[in-house]
Each structure stands twice: as C-alpha cells, then as structure tokens.
Symmetry: D3
Subunit: 282 residues, 6 copies
Amino acid sequence: MASNYSFQYFNVRFPDESPYVAHVEINRAEKMNAFFEAMWLELRQVFNQLSEDSSVRAIVLSGAGEKAFTAGLDVKAASQGGALAGEASVDPARKAVHLRRHVLKFQDCITAVERCEKPVIVAMHGFALGLAIDLSTAADVRLCSKDVRFAVKEVDIGIAADIGTLSRLPKVVGNFSWVKEVALSARIFGADEALRVGFVSAVYENRAATIAAALKLATLIASKSPVAVQGTKELLNWSRDHTVQDGLRYTGVWNSAALQTGDVSAALLSGLQKRTPTFEKL
Amino acid sequence: MASNYSFQYFNVRFPDESPYVAHVEINRAEKMNAFFEAMWLELRQVFNQLSEDSSVRAIVLSGAGEKAFTAGLDVKAASQGGALAGEASVDPARKAVHLRRHVLKFQDCITAVERCEKPVIVAMHGFALGLAIDLSTAADVRLCSKDVRFAVKEVDIGIAADIGTLSRLPKVVGNFSWVKEVALSARIFGADEALRVGFVSAVYENRAATIAAALKLATLIASKSPVAVQGTKELLNWSRDHTVQDGLRYTGVWNSAALQTGDVSAALLSGLQKRTPTFEKL
Amino acid sequence: MASNYSFQYFNVRFPDESPYVAHVEINRAEKMNAFFEAMWLELRQVFNQLSEDSSVRAIVLSGAGEKAFTAGLDVKAASQGGALAGEASVDPARKAVHLRRHVLKFQDCITAVERCEKPVIVAMHGFALGLAIDLSTAADVRLCSKDVRFAVKEVDIGIAADIGTLSRLPKVVGNFSWVKEVALSARIFGADEALRVGFVSAVYENRAATIAAALKLATLIASKSPVAVQGTKELLNWSRDHTVQDGLRYTGVWNSAALQTGDVSAALLSGLQKRTPTFEKL
Amino acid sequence: MASNYSFQYFNVRFPDESPYVAHVEINRAEKMNAFFEAMWLELRQVFNQLSEDSSVRAIVLSGAGEKAFTAGLDVKAASQGGALAGEASVDPARKAVHLRRHVLKFQDCITAVERCEKPVIVAMHGFALGLAIDLSTAADVRLCSKDVRFAVKEVDIGIAADIGTLSRLPKVVGNFSWVKEVALSARIFGADEALRVGFVSAVYENRAATIAAALKLATLIASKSPVAVQGTKELLNWSRDHTVQDGLRYTGVWNSAALQTGDVSAALLSGLQKRTPTFEKL
Amino acid sequence: MASNYSFQYFNVRFPDESPYVAHVEINRAEKMNAFFEAMWLELRQVFNQLSEDSSVRAIVLSGAGEKAFTAGLDVKAASQGGALAGEASVDPARKAVHLRRHVLKFQDCITAVERCEKPVIVAMHGFALGLAIDLSTAADVRLCSKDVRFAVKEVDIGIAADIGTLSRLPKVVGNFSWVKEVALSARIFGADEALRVGFVSAVYENRAATIAAALKLATLIASKSPVAVQGTKELLNWSRDHTVQDGLRYTGVWNSAALQTGDVSAALLSGLQKRTPTFEKL
Amino acid sequence: MASNYSFQYFNVRFPDESPYVAHVEINRAEKMNAFFEAMWLELRQVFNQLSEDSSVRAIVLSGAGEKAFTAGLDVKAASQGGALAGEASVDPARKAVHLRRHVLKFQDCITAVERCEKPVIVAMHGFALGLAIDLSTAADVRLCSKDVRFAVKEVDIGIAADIGTLSRLPKVVGNFSWVKEVALSARIFGADEALRVGFVSAVYENRAATIAAALKLATLIASKSPVAVQGTKELLNWSRDHTVQDGLRYTGVWNSAALQTGDVSAALLSGLQKRTPTFEKL
C-alpha cells in the first residue's frame, strides 16, 4: 500500500499496531515544515486519497522534527514565486481576479482536511504558526504538547488570515473575545491557554507523547463502525453551519441509509458477547 | 392539578415550596430509566402540556433512582420492536422511507423539550448515556452531580447519533475539538470535564443536591415575570440559529408586543418598594 | 483633533503614548454611567466618527468613576420619557409599531460599536449591568477588573433583553447552559466566572489596571497594518454569522483587494530588518 | 379503506379509474366551503393520514359545490369563537402569547399539505379567497377553471395574511410586483391573469373539467415510481428554501438511499419492453 | 404639511383626491433626472421621513418631464467628484476601503425605499436606465408607460451594477435567463417585454396615464387598514429572504401584536354595513 | 490555441467573427449526444480551462447533429458501468456511501458550467431531456429552437433528478406549480411553453438560427468590459442564494477592487468618442 502513498513533502505511514489508521507527517523539518505552493497542492492529494481509501478509518497529522509542527507559510518562497510577488504593472481589478483565484485554490487545499470523510486528529508541537492554525481548525480533534507556541501570525505580515482561520476559529472555540484578541494581536499563546479556551482538547508532555496519544485515539475511533464514525463527522460539520432544525432533518435523511448497515447488529452482538466487533471495509 | 398530569413513565410533581415550578421525573428506575418508544411519545405529551399550562413557569427534569439519569435507548426493546428490527425483505429505498419517518418522529419528541415555552433545567446523575445527551442538549440549563458518567454512546452500537446530539452539541459547547472527540470515541466523561468544557454549568455533591439546586434555580426563575422569562428562552434559541441581525430584528418584533405588559411597571414598582412582585398568569 | 471629539456624555481622548488609539469614556459617573436616550444616540455618533477617522486604529471603551462601567438603562429617565412610558389610550397594534421602531433604533446605536471598522476593546469594572452586557458583546475584546459585578439584568424589570445581549451572547460565549442561566435568572456574576466561561478574556487587579491593559493591547494592535487589522475584524464578524464556506469565499473576495496593499512588503521588510514598520494612514 | 377516511368536513374518495389517487373534497358547499377551526384541524388529520398511506401516490384537492373552492375564513365563526374574539381585559403581552399560539397552530394545519409526502394537485373554481390562497400555495400544482375569482383578501378585514400566503406566494410566483399588488390591494383576479403570472399552471373550462384534468395528472404521476415521485417533491421543496449548493448536497444524501430501489431496473426494463411498469407499495 | 417636505431635488405632493397618499417626483427634468450624490442622499431623507409620517399610507414615485423617469447615474458629475475619480496615488487596498464605504452608503440611500414602512409604487416612463432599475427593484409595485426604455446599463461603463439591481432583480423577476441576458448585455428593453417577464405588473398608454394609475392604486391601498398594509409589506419582504418556515414563524410573532388592532372589527363592521371603514392614524 | 482545446467528446471552436467567444459543441451526434461518465468528466475539464483562459469572454454551448441537444444520460452505458449497476451483495449503508460519492462528483462536473467565470449561453434544439435540463440550468442564458422537446425525464427511470435540476429549476423559473408539474410528470414540453414560463428567454426558427443568435449575443457580451461582465455573473449567482442584504454587502466588497479597473475610464471615453472600447485581457 505504501507505494500508493509515496509523496514528496508528506510521509504517510500505516502503523502496524493501529489497524485502519494512517499517520501523515509534514516532512520538511529542515525548514520548520514551512509550506510553499507545491506542498499545499500535495496536501490536498494526500487527503483526497485517504478520504476514499477503504483501509483507512482515522488519520493522525503531525510535523517532522522537534522544532515545529509548522512555522506556517514559507514567506520567502511565497514572495519570490507567486501571487504576492506583485506584477506591479497590471490593473488592480485584474490583479484582484488572480489574487482571488489564488486564495480560493489555497483554501480548497486546506479544506481537503475537512472534506476528508475520515476523522483527522492533529498532533501539534513546537512552533505552530499561521497556516498551522488554518490547518488545525480544518481538522477534527486538536491535541498539543506542552512546548507548543501557537500564533495567528498573519497580521504581522500585513494580511488578514485568509486560508481558513478567520472562518473556522470562531466556530471551534467558544470565546469570541479571545479569538479576536489573538487574531488581532498575533501574539504567541501556549498549551495551557489553548486548553483553557478550548482550542485544543488535551495537552501532553512532549511531541512524542502527543503523537502517541493521537495514535491511540485514532486507533480507538478506527475500532468502531466506520459507518457510524464517518456519519458522525459529517453530521457534526453540517450542523456547525446550519440551524438545529436543518441539522435534524439532514441527519434523518442521512441515517435512513446508514441505519441499514449490518454494523448495528454486529456491534450489538459483540456487546452482548463481550468481544470486539469487526466491521466490513468502507 | 395532579390528575391532569398522570403519566405512566414520568412523574410530574408541583412542589409546594416552589410556586409555578413543575418537576418531571423519568420513572423507570428498575431499567436505569432507559427509553423505549412509548416513553418518548409520552415525553412529548408531558412537555406539550406543560408548555401551555399557565400555572407552570419553570421545569426541572431528573431521573428516578440512584443509578442513572437515563442509560439511554433501551436497545433490547428497540431491537425487538421497531424500526431497527429489520424487515429484511424490503427494498432499501422503501426501508429508508420508514427509517426516516421513524427518526424524524423520535427527534420531534425530544424537540418538545426545546419547543416548550418554559425554561427546562435538567438535573443529571449516575449514568447519562446516549439519549441523555440528546435530551439534555434540548433543555435550557444543564446541571449534574459528581458521580455522573456521560457518554455520546451511539457509535458503540454502530449508529451516528440522530435524535439531536450531533445537531445541538456543537451549539451548546464551544469546544469543537472536544465535541468531536467524545462523539467519535464514545468514551465516558465525568462531571469535572463536563464543567470545564461548558457542557454543564454547575456540579453538585450528589443526586439530591443536584435536584435541590435545580429546583432552587427554577423557583428563582419562576418568581420573575413570565413574559420576560419566556421571551428570553425564545429569543436565545432563535438567535442560536440566525445571524445577529436577524436576531435583533426578530427581538424587536417580539418585544413590540411583550413590552406592553403590565409586568414592567409591576416589577419596577416592586423594586422601588423592595418587595417581591407578583405577576398575572401566562 | 480633540475639538472634533467634543461630546456631552463621552470623553474621547488620544493618549500620547498610544499612537492611533482612541480612548472613549462613558462620562456620567454621578449616575453610575446609566444610559438614557440622548446618550445612546451620542454613542452612535462617537463610533461612526471613529470608524472613518484615519488617525484611529484601535479603540478602548471604559466608564468614568470607580463605581460602575455602567449600571445599565437609567430606568427612571426611561419611564418618564419615552417608549416605555405608556400612552395607554392607543391601539395595541399601533403601540407595537412605535415600540418596534424605538427598539430597532436603540439596537442600531449599540450596533455602531460592532459596525465600527476599528477594533474596540472594552474595559469593565464595578457594576456592569444590563446595557453593559449589550454594549460589551458588540465590542471585540472584553476585559474586566476583579471587582466587576455583571448581570443580564433585564428580566428583573419584566423585559427580555432586546438591545443585543440575547442575539450576541450565545455567539460570544460557548456555554449555552450558562448563557441561559444568567439570562433567565438575572443573577450577578463576577470576574472569575466571566473568565472561566469565556465572557471576558482577561481579568486585572482594578479599574486602573484594566484600562491600562486595554490601552496596551490597543497600542499593540494599532502598531500593526491597519489593512490587516480592519480586515481581520470584518472577516471574523462575517464568519460568526455565515457558513464556513461563505466565510471562505467572502474572505477570498475581501483579500483580492487587501493583498494589493504595500503593507505586506513594508511588514516583511521591517521583519527582516528587525525594526518596527510604519504604515500609511487608512 | 373508505372507513378509515370518514371525515366530517372532507370527502375522501379513491376513484376506481385512478389507481393510487386520493381525491379530497372540501365539503361545506352550503357555506361556500368557508373554514372554521374544526375544519382546519381535520384538514391536518386528512393529510397526515394520506401522507403515510402506502396505497396513495398522488392527491387531488377540490371544493364541493359550484360556487366556491373556498370563500376563505368563516369570519362569523371566527369572530364568535376564538382567538380574534377579544378577551378585552387581558394584558396585551399575554394576549399576544395566545394569538401567537393560535396562528402557529393554524399555520401548522395548512402546512400539513406541504408536509404530505405525496404530491397534491389543487383544482380551484368559483370563489377562491383568502385561505384558498394560503392553502393552494402549500400544495404542489395549482389548476383552475375559467370562472375562478381569486383574492388575497386579508387586508380587507384588517389583517396581514398570516397562514402562509405571505410566506409562500413570493416563492411560487416569480413576479414580485404582482405579488405585492394583489396582496396590498386585496383585489380580485381571474384565471387568465393567474395563468399569465404563473400562479396556476393551467386553466380549464369549468369546475368539472378542472377536476378531471387534476385527476388525470394525478393518475399519470401515480403511475410513476413512488420512490422517484416522493423524492422529487421533497427535493424541490428543500431547494426552494436553500442555496443551490445545500440543495445539491441534500439531494446526494437523499438519493444515496433512493437509488438503491428496485424501481430503477423495473422502470428501465418496462421501457425496453414497451409496457407499463408496476412498482411495489411505498 | 408641505413645508416639512420641501426638498431640492424631489417634489413631494399630497394630492387632495388621494387621502393618505404622497407623490414623490424626481425633479431634475433638464438633466433627464440623472442622479448625483446630493440627490441620493436627499432621496434617503425623503423616504425616511415618509416612513414615519402617520399621515402617509402609500407612496407614488415618478420622474418629472416627458423624457425620462431617470437616465441613471449622472456620469459626468460622478467622474468629476467623487469615488470614481481616482486618487491615483494611493495604495489599492486603501482605495478599496474608500470605494467600499462609498458603495455601501449609496446602496443604503436606495434601500431607504425598501425600508420605508409604507408601500411604494413606482411609475416609470421614457428613459429608465441603470439607477432606474436599482431604484425600482427596491420599490414594491412597478408600473410603466408604453414608451419606456429600460436598461441595466452598468456594464456599458465598465461596472457590475452595485447599488441593488444585481441583488434584487433575481428576486423580483422569475426568469433568471432573462435577468442574466439583460444584465450582461446592457441592451434596451421595452414595456411589452417588461410585462411579459414580470418586471412590471402593468403597462399604460403614456406618462400621465401611468402616474394616474399609480395614484389610483395608492389611493386604494391607502383606504385599507394601515396595520394590515404595512404588515403585508414587511412580511413579504422578510419572506423573500428567508425559508418558508422562518417566514411563518416571523409572521406569527408579528401578528401577535397586529391582530390586537381595532382595525379588524372596524373593517368587519364596515363590511357588514356596506360602508367604507376609517382607520386611526399609524 | 486550438491545440489546447483538443477534447474527445466536445468540439471547442473560436469563431473568427466572434472575438473572445468560445463555442463548445457536445460531439456525440450518433448517440443523440447522450452522456456517459467520461463525457461529464471531460465537460468539467473544458469549462475549468475556459474559466481561466484570458482570451475567452463568453461561451456558447450547443449539441452536434440535428436530432438532439442531448438525449440525457446514456442509460445503457450507465447501467453497465457504474454506480447504478448494483453490487447486490453489499451492505446498503456502504452502498449508499459509494452512490453518494458518485452523485456528488457527477454534480460537480455539471456545476463546472456555473462555476465558470465567463457567461455561458446554451443553445438547445431537438431532444433536450434529463441531463439537458440539469446542464442548461447551470448555464446563464437559455435559448432554444422551435423544434425543441424538453423533459425532466428522470422520474420515468425511477429516479429523482439529482444532478442539478431539482436544486436549480425552482431558482431559474418563477412558476413553482409548473416546475413541479413537469418534474413530477416527466412530460415533454416545447419551445412556446418554455418561453411562456421563462425557462428560455428566446426561441428561434431552427438549430442553426439558435446557435447564430447565441453567438451574436456572446459576441455582444464579449465586447464589454470583462471586469464588469464577470462581476455581473458572479454577483447574480451569489444573490440568487443569499438575502438582499448579504447580496448588497458582497457586491460592495467585490466592487471595491473591480471599480479600480481602467475599463471604467476606457468605456466612458469611448462612449464620448462614439467608438468601440477595447479592454485589456483578463
């Protein structure tokens, strides 16, 4: 299977002790895992492929090296290459069209994590700046180590964060005063604060322990009915963006197919027999 | 009045020391208050009736017995009877129609708690699994005892929770990482965690103390103008599902009638005279 | 510049040590900064003017005197004057039209704080009742002192809060059980509780320390690119009220103009040169 | 089967020549089919029952007698009985609560037509005033005879139409200028105008011809796969109220179950064999 | 009363034969009623004032002179003065802020027509270009004369129409193919076509006949209960922008106050007595 | 340029007499242009490429051969290949996942026409069934010839149309009764009816005349400022799915960049000089 998951900027592993779990690692440790365009395009490929791979039921995302989950956008690469570079001669309206296309495509790459049908647990450590926040708010569960240093860094380079943070952060953290403070000031915040306000749901001793905990949680989730788990992810994301009533109706329609699964009786029977159920691939 | 509130699976009491308060108790302690179809149909009846009873201004909901608020769905009853039982012969599309109807009706019974015009304070203890979460997220205020054991249990029986939890939990708790973690893993969580993430707003020593606190809060709320209290419930629920601007406009229209109440001058006068106001029935 | 900001009920100062920061003070200390109609009309003027003043990049809002940020609506003035006073003879439907107009206009004055293009940091102390909650939820960042005494006071005078609290509180605090409890009971809550549930993002020793901290934060924010800061406020407010997808698209359109700013290269260059960037007025 | 459909104010027939079609007739010809409360409560019962009756696949709704489809609300009955009658003594805010409950319940009875899972074709003739418009906009297809006299009559009795017309008319007719004109002026309009603006989709010679055409259309629809037909009604109604993107996604989820029907191959095979398919009950 | 309605660019008359009707005329015939900034600011004043004037129940809007309802934006004035003029030196992001403010304010002036609590009937003739479409889609009823020449003219000057046409036209005309064709091509269309697609609801012989018909309709509407009429306008506009269910609920809340009017019994009694009712001012 | 547009199932031409216009032809005349999976995947490629090609400003879409624009889904190919084929053994819930993915991808291919930044004019003739309706409602302007035979054909094969028709048809035609009638009955309708209800905006003598008219309109649109034209398409589509207020605000943000184009002065100057403006590529 590994041959299908041979990427340049990401390691994708399938740990033996974690059936149905994929571990994706951002693999540019020498540059603190900073992103440039080829990387986010590849990120989308990785998650699109995992989304439909029936041998995957839960995913862990972490960063290589001790220093950083990701230091965010590789500003140097961005300023040389692409959209931010300038093309000073053109009409501002025409330039706007190209910038908009660029931003929407970049967003779409990050949204691949949210769109992925399998739950994604992100394990963060060290520097987790800018794009790290965009990326992790598109994931499902956020864990971090004690040494993490988070920041919504974009205002420091003259930009309102546009790859997801400003759209998702108010929906994943229920403290709008804090959300605004960190987004407007770009200040660093640590693990304790992230836990207190609910940006992460648990903190671990160090990078290794965080990844181990993420894999453990992923393994637990992967042991459940994939019909139930994938439905749960989808229905929670839908409900975040709709009224309770639209949430209820969509759920009723969704489950009108999902409840026909054999997993329900498999799970019930295993429960009675005190053994672990096995579920067909999905 | 009690004669009107004679139900099979619920005790409805009107404590003397709590004017205008109704105390609803799930009354199937011998089965840990697990629900089957007749119960949720009756639940709807109870709350529909309380909603329009002008002698009720606040409601407490708790579970009988020391063991559980409710252990959730009575899976055995459900698997024998109805919608989940199978009818293996039919066309999956036709089966889907019956399952959808079943889920939507079940949802509607739980939503009766939300639709009830009077505030509902839920006092939870012991096991509070599956349906307990659906039910309590449809209530207004959530309290619990130290011994409570919560779980969004549905994935463990191969089901994405479809009676309200997935639609309401992201809106009552502002920590989406935690919401996803507990919904995807089905793990047990206790009172401290529930308080920390904001799933409950207070924790008490034991079942009795929790119910006592709930009744005290209900009594306080029932002492206020029912026009103001019922408007507050409605406007908060509306606002949860709409933009701020739609919330403001709806509020303006709502209060164009509500502000014409005599309760405003009654309340102001009592305030000046340092006595407790009394308000006409509503 | 001061001459332009000469108001009757508000002091507007531009502290020398805080470039681009405006400090607005509610100036009716002798009545605990309680509001009557002329005041909220003036409040709108103040914030409309600051919104377009290119020499302002961040705003602090506080209350004069040691006793109160604001004790809320000046009920006495309200009951003498205007909309609540009665006009007992009229048709309830016609009265409703006048009440609705009154409420919508009052709301619009408070919404001026949210609509203001610059971030508003509110520093609260002492009594902060009723209108204080409406006002502060329309601001961006909420800070308070240890002695603060908050209450969603309206039900105590027979009214469902209609100037913004019920529409905004569920969106700024992610603990709906707590929101309902304080809105339905009108009980006092203090700084610790406000911090725990996320109503404020920090607590300081006393009024002076709170205002100092607010000014410090405002000064920090005002040192950033105003294009980035004002975009961040707008995009967070838009996202609060829309789906993630609508948030992303609006962001893409917004930044198609904003990314053309010279502030990006100014910020990047200053970063490399380890000096503080300066940004053109906006 | 007739025994199940024995109602007081409605005739429900199952014409032999129209398999799977129910014909509902408003049966109060002596009062021009004017409605009072018992009637709309019964209307809801009729349509709730038809909605789940697997021997019904399409419904025609018409009025008994030559004079009127329905002359609307029986104002005399309404003014004697209930909500509009007065109860002059009470607090306007309390009265508002009762009026709101009354209106919402009345709306719910009319909405039963929209909620009914089977398509409803309404055949109108003669006077079709006030409630006739509310009722017919909740139906799926509107037909009328040449002699019809329509009016959104409510402003003539001092009321903004509140049982559905103002919420649905702008969504079923794409000429907002005309919608406003007829709703604001209460003027009569006839069949030609109704056809021209798209309020009805066809006009027939007289009452009998209109009902015959409605039955013919119902018979045609009832000959199709009920899985496809009922899905089509639901998806069109959902799409009316949601963005195109939400429409597409809901459709995808809906059809993930519906496409598993055996009706698809039955229909395809019948097509090849040039014979009429038969479909299992639903 | 005329003294209160003395404006520079608009004539406001109160025709004797049309009680409670105001007739607003765009008064710059020598320039084909083309608009510049002072005019749209004044337009807002006119409609804000009429909105709250209890002696006005319906409004007619027309243009002075035989040549044009309005030829649209006075491009010459616009290009000399303001926002479009250039200020070539500034940062595109900063320029965008000023342009956005300009557009939003301009929109707000046109929206004053929609926000006006009284129905507005627009009577168009001759040239009705660009801003004419923006303005008339914000009105309630659109009438025109045979000689009218409409165009969504903006693309011809390099602009996507931004003062209302593109937001409202798809909601007032139910033929999206036609809407796109005229908006993308800027071509002229006449009265017949406007009637056929439903952009206007009636066509009259010439300017005078159109204005006479508009006044007649306004007089009819002004003879009805103002509680009912103004509620009808508001509820139709709300419903245009919301789901049917949100429309129904808002309607129920609105009418909980409005149904308490004495106008209902006044109207019913007059009906029985075959005389014209009179209604209290609103 | 042609080399870039070499596709298997579509001809893409750039007529010399129509600068900036692309003409896309469905090229499977021998099978009445019926679609199978490879075709709709290629369709997406075609429109994605045209969307960003700066030498294209308007697009015409038509079908090869005299018989059909497109007869819709190639049912035979569909039933052999893919998603509808069966895989009878699997769990209905797992089958639902694959069907949902299939439908969402198919929808995405058709939505490419709507997402394309340039206006798309569809010229239909002969059979235009099923997918023809999905496809044409995703386009901007719909034209047809006299011989056209339209049908929302899906219910005839046991399917609720799921590739766009049910989501878009209620938004492009303002006659919901007619929309439901044709969608529920699958009956054929012709050019006259399509014109009357507003499904098409013009009818021409035959296929050749329809394509000629489409090219003429495309040429006209392509002669305008591409900044204005592409903004107009985007803003109309956004407004269709949002409230008027959200439409106005999005428009204001959009035009804050677009109004900075040089096209405005180019267009104004050309207007004064009575010559055709030329606009920079976009």
